[in-house]
């Protein structure tokens, strides 16, 4: 009995060592503004994002970038970094997923991208054109990192905008729900038991933009 106790205590110790693994997931925080673009004929053509990175990540990304005036970066000085940003974002589908009445839509490569440095933070501006413009009664655009490495959060003021949409269309921003304890547990283990590349776990914490055109 005593021996079994010691053994089990030990097993419990090892178990807790492996369970007790909370790490700083996410690692990068993004505050987002998104504009849903419509053409004159009333079809949706794409999304225009403005993503502001957290100040620490901004400083990190700016490390070693040549700039003429201390503490200031021009759009031109940041052009190569913006290029790197959108190129690597492409691998992650720009973390942007759109559905027209439930049907998945595809985006082309980002265009009109540039970086802005303001208030100690970098903001990445880019446009995602739809491969084929679409119309729908309910358009849903979700922004999330499936692996929850990047934390996306709608900006406090005017997170979403409609541009050129028919007047009867209404846009709303749906915040992700607070994780339940079970979800938190999974989140806390992400570094040890990472999600597979194909996983869509982060979807349950998506920031949702809804455009309803009755």
């Amino acid at each position: 009995m005593m021996k079994r106790t010691g053994c089990c205590a030990f097993a419990a110790l090892l178990l807790s060592l492996s369970i007790a693994n909370a790490d700083a997931h996410p690692h990068v925080w993004v505050t987002l503004h998104s504009e849903v673009l419509y053409s004159a004929d009333g079809t949706m053509t794409g999304v225009r994002h403005a993503w502001t990175f957290d100040d620490m990540f901004s400083a990190y990304a700016l490390q070693g970038i040549a700039h003429a005036r201390k503490g200031q970066y021009t759009r031109e000085e940041l052009a190569s970094l913006a290029e790197v940003n959108v190129t690597s974002l492409k691998e992650y589908d720009y973390f942007t997923y759109a559905r027209a009445d439930g049907k998945k839509l595809k985006f082309s490569d980002a265009t009109d991208y540039w970086l802005e440095f303001k208030n100690a933070a970098l903001t990445l501006h880019f446009t995602l054109p739809l491969k084929a413009s679409a119309t729908a009664k309910a358009m849903q655009i979700e922004i999330y990192d499936p692996t929850i490495f990047v934390d996306f959060e709608f900006a406090k003021d005017k997170p979403t905008l409609l541009s050129g949409a028919p007047p009867q269309c209404l846009i709303t921003a749906d915040l992700p729900h607070q994780p339940t304890p079970a979800e938190q547990l999974r989140l806390s283990q992400l570094d040890n038991v990472p999600l597979e590349a194909s996983s869509t776990y982060g979807e349950i914490f998506a920031n949702k933009i809804l455009v309803k055109c009755p």
């Binding site: 009995m1 021996k3 079994r4 106790t5 010691g6 053994c7 089990c8 205590a9 030990f10 097993a11 419990a12 110790l13 090892l14 807790s16 060592l17 492996s18 369970i19 007790a20 693994n21 909370a22 790490d23 700083a24 996410p26 690692h27 990068v28 925080w29 990175f53 957290d54 100040d55 620490m56 990540f57 400083a59 990190y60 990304a61 700016l62 490390q63 070693g64 970038i65 970094l81 790197v84 190129t87 690597s88 974002l89 691998e91 992650y92 100690a120 490495f149 607070q178 994780p179 339940t180 304890p181 079970a182 938190q184 547990l185 989140l187 806390s188 283990q189 570094d191 040890n192 990472p194």
Partner: protein, 378 residues
């Protein structure tokens, strides 16, 4: 019943913050699992909050001398909480201590040295790459990745070596247990051990055989390639120190000199583990340092990083102490029943060595998975 109580005790001891409960006031769906996840959620949220408040404190400390104490306080707390996560070597160090029957004092020292080394590596990487060379985030990211990979591979190698050594110890204990009833236990066991001993010598000149004097030759520890792991309980073996000095190839290449770790019992035995664990800089510390550098506060960032390391050390040391205590309890119980008891201890050592390999592999795998850490910077 007893076992369950012991298990709960151990978990509570490891997670002192358990009593804090869930901060979100989220409902508990299942009483059995939720306290754990509630705690994890709490740690998770706290440490993210501490991390995110660091930048504000660093910026404030520029104009306000008092803010620097806030920064140091938050850095310390961040270190304490963050170290609960992987990559800070608590699991590797704990397993190492268990596999090698180390004392808690050594556990604490190894924890502090490895955490200190982690901070120093982060500072050195940023000082050289960012301050001196003006390297980009991409270059620094690549450097960290290389260092990380080396660290994880070293962990795996240390684990494999321990697994090999402890696996033999286990097999020998097994054989002795079988041959014991034959009445010629002593003769046969020393015969076995000598065979192994000679065999080892064939591969490796530094191998030493140790005997447990209290156990009538019950278990022979067969020691492997590198001397710093030799640990006979009651030894007065003069050769050890000279072995140790030449043996730790990794240690002498990069790490603190043995003298820095010196204590009564020759602290340098755990050097390779400390280096393997300590090599890996925390990416959070690197980002904090670069942020501080961008504010012309590199020295403030350096101090904050060292304090973070102190916090990390305390968490790792606490967990290591629990691991060592659990091992001591188990070995006390095992000694009460020689034979199977010793076999059990050898089995625990083999298990702990196997865990080091597993942790190393997990970390290496985790590193592959977290490649996107640098996604926005290439």
């Amino acid at each position: 019943m007893l076992t369950a109580a012991a298990a709960i005790l151990v978990i509570v001891a490891i997670n002192p913050a358990w009593t804090q409960g869930t901060p979100f006031g989220a409902p508990h769906h299942d009483a059995g699992i939720m306290p754990q996840s509630g705690l994890m959620a709490w740690i998770f949220a706290k440490q993210a909050a501490f991390y995110r408040s660091l930048s504000g404190f660093i910026r404030a400390s520029k104009d306000d001398g008092a803010a620097i104490w806030g920064l140091f306080g938050i850095s310390f707390l961040y270190g304490v909480f963050h170290a609960v996560g992987p990559g800070h070597g608590k699991a590797v160090i704990s397993s190492y201590l268990v596999a090698n029957e180390e004392t808690w004092r050594r556990g604490v020292v190894l924890s502090f040295v490895s955490a200190g080394l982690q901070s120093v590596v982060a500072i050195v990487v940023v000082a050289i790459a960012a301050v001196l060379l003006g390297a980009t985030a991409k270059a620094i990211g690549l450097t960290v990745r290389v260092v990380e990979t080396v660290s994880y591979v070293l962990v795996i190698l240390i684990g494999l070596r321990l697994l090999f050594v402890k696996g033999r110890g286990f097999l020998i204990a097994c054989r002795e247990l079988i041959s014991r009833p034959s009445g010629e236990a002593t003769a046969s066991s020393s015969g076995e051990a000598n065979t192994v001993h000679r065999h080892d010598h064939g591969h490796n000149a530094t191998t030493t055989r140790c005997e447990h004097s209290h156990d009538g030759g019950d278990a022979h520890h067969v020691h492997g390639h590198r001397g710093h792991d030799h640990h006979c309980h009651d030894h007065g073996d003069h050769d050890h120190d000279s072995h140790d000095h030449h043996a730790s190839a990794w240690g002498h290449a990069h790490g603190p000199e043995p003298a820095e770790l010196a204590g009564a019992g020759g602290w340098h035995r755990g050097l390779s583990t400390v280096i393997a664990v300590g090599l890996r800089p925390c990416s959070g510390a690197i980002i904090v340092l670069i942020f501080a550098l961008a504010q012309d506060l590199f020295w403030t960032g350096t101090a904050a990083t060292l304090i973070m390391g102190l916090g990390t050390a305390i968490t790792v040391a606490a967990i290591a102490t629990v691991a060592v205590s659990a091992r001591t309890v188990a070995s006390r119980i095992a000694k009460a029943r020689s034979g199977f008891g010793m076999l059990l201890m050898r089995a625990i050592e083999v298990g702990a060595a196997g865990l080091i390999v597993a942790f190393g592999a997990l970390l290496l795998g985790g590193y592959m998975a977290s490649e996107q850490l640098w996604m926005f910077t290439g």
